[in-house]
Amino acid sequence: MMKAATLLAAEEGSNPLIPHTFELVVGIFSFFVVLFVVGRLLVPRIQKTLAERTDAIEGGIKRAEEAQAEAQNLQKQYREQLAEARQEAGRLREEAREQAAQIRAELREEAQAEARRLVDAAHAQIEADRQAAFTQLRAEIGRLSTDLAGRIVGESLEDEARQRRVVDRFLDELESSNAQAVR
């Protein structure tokens, strides 16, 4: 039996296209063992790991995108706030300037009014003084003129009433001519 198998093996060996029976058995055995261990047990594991890795990478990318979006959002927000603050500052500055101008105008107006008031008062005073001086002068001139005229003309002009009338007429003429000259 053993001898027959050996002979058969030797005979088979001469034709490389005819498989050896025991090699077929060993081939099937080793193929299915490897197929079970590698194909059935190990490959699913690496497939799971690869899927997890893909998830991890995609998750990482997604997280990064989210963070970037948030950062951009924040930046936009800050920019808006900054613009708003700038606008506010500008507005305040403008307001202050307006206020300052207003205050200045008010002060100027007040000062002008005060000045006008002073000038008016001075004018009034001057007018009053002039009036007083004029009144006094009028009496004085009248007296002096009558004195002088009396002395020149004599007793005829002693009469009080006539004297006053003459003097008044004279003075009125004088005043009107005077006023015309002033004008």
């Binding site: 053993m2 198998a5 050996t6 093996a9 030797a10 060996g13 001469s14 490389p16 296209l17 005819i18 498989p19 050896h20 025991f22 090699e23 077929l24 058995v25 060993v26 081939g27 099937i28 080793s30 193929f31 063992v33 490897v34 197929l35 261990v37 590698v38 194909g39 059935r40 190990l42 490959v43 699913p44 594991r45 690496i46 497939q47 799971k48 790991t49 690869l50 997890e52 890795r53 991890a56």
Partner: protein, 263 residues
């Protein structure tokens, strides 16, 4: 390579396939336990060990061996599974990764120093894989397209003039159900077989002319043999990878063809 005149003792003799591919049992009396069998078992152990180290408890951030194995996994997924299986790719990754890694290791055994025997150069091993794929292919085809539909889609693809089917139907039947599994296995086997022959031949030339029978004239031939051995080892490594890729790719193609009727 049997010459009519028996070669003299001191004459170079190219290695014959019998010498290269026939092994006596490693342990006397245990007939089945030969070098290819040992290497096939060893390959399985290495693939399992490697994948266990890499994918046993995989990390989100890969380190060390997981990086290397993931590279292989990605390669199979992106170059083999997805182009042929589309959205079904992930379901069949287990099988395709197993096929690719196993065939790759079987082949690479051919250039690993001391080991130096590609397991796939014994037809039994590719045949087992190709046969399994074939059974799976027919099973999936009948399951997804129905017994009649599967054969109808295979032999009578729509949209051709009636007369063509007379010619096409038997050809399609033959190529899909009889030739395809055969070429699937033989393509891998023949590549490994020829590669091993070439490597053995050139290294034998180098060894013979430089060590066994060193002569002034023969030394040059020996040097050429050594250089060719080095070049062909690199070339073999490429072929070994390519064949593993191709084997897994064809498997994916057959599975894809069974899941969805081809157009």
């Amino acid at each position: 390579m049997i010459t009519l005149t028996a070669p003299a003792e001191d004459q170079f003799k190219a290695p014959s396939p019998d010498e290269l591919f026939t092994f006596s049992p490693i342990i006397n009396g245990v007939d089945w336990f030969t070098k290819p069998v040992l290497l096939a078992l060893l390959s399985s152990v290495v693939v399992i060990w490697f994948c266990w180290a890499a994918f046993g408890s995989p990390k989100i951030v890969p380190r060390g061996v997981q990086n290397v194995a993931e590279y292989g996994y990605m390669f199979v997924r992106d170059q083999v599974a997805r182009p042929f299986l589309g959205k079904d790719a992930d379901r069949w990754m287990g099988l395709l990764v197993t096929l690719f890694f196993m065939v790759l290791l079987w082949n690479i055994m051919g250039v690993i120093p001391v080991v130096q025997f590609p397991v796939a150069s014994h037809i039994a091993f590719p045949a087992v894989l190709a046969g399994s794929i074939y059974v799976l292919k027919v099973y999936l085809g009948i399951k997804h397209q129905g017994a009649v539909g599967y054969f109808k889609n295979m032999m009578f693809p729509p949209g051709l003039p009636k007369g063509i089917y007379l010619l096409l139907a038997p050809i399609e039947f033959l190529s899909n159900l009889i030739i395809a599994p055969f070429t699937h296995a033989v393509r891998l086997f023949a590549n490994m077989f020829a590669g091993h022959m070439l490597l053995a031949f050139f290294s034998m030339v180098g060894f013979w002319f430089l060590f066994e029978k060193l002569t002034p004239l023969g030394a040059g031939v020996g040097v050429v043999g050594v250089i060719m051995t080095i070049i062909f080892t690199g070339f073999e490594l490429f072929i070994q990878f390519l064949q593993a890729f191709l084997f897994a790719m064809l498997a994916a193609m057959y599975i894809g063809g069974s899941l969805h009727a081809e157009h």
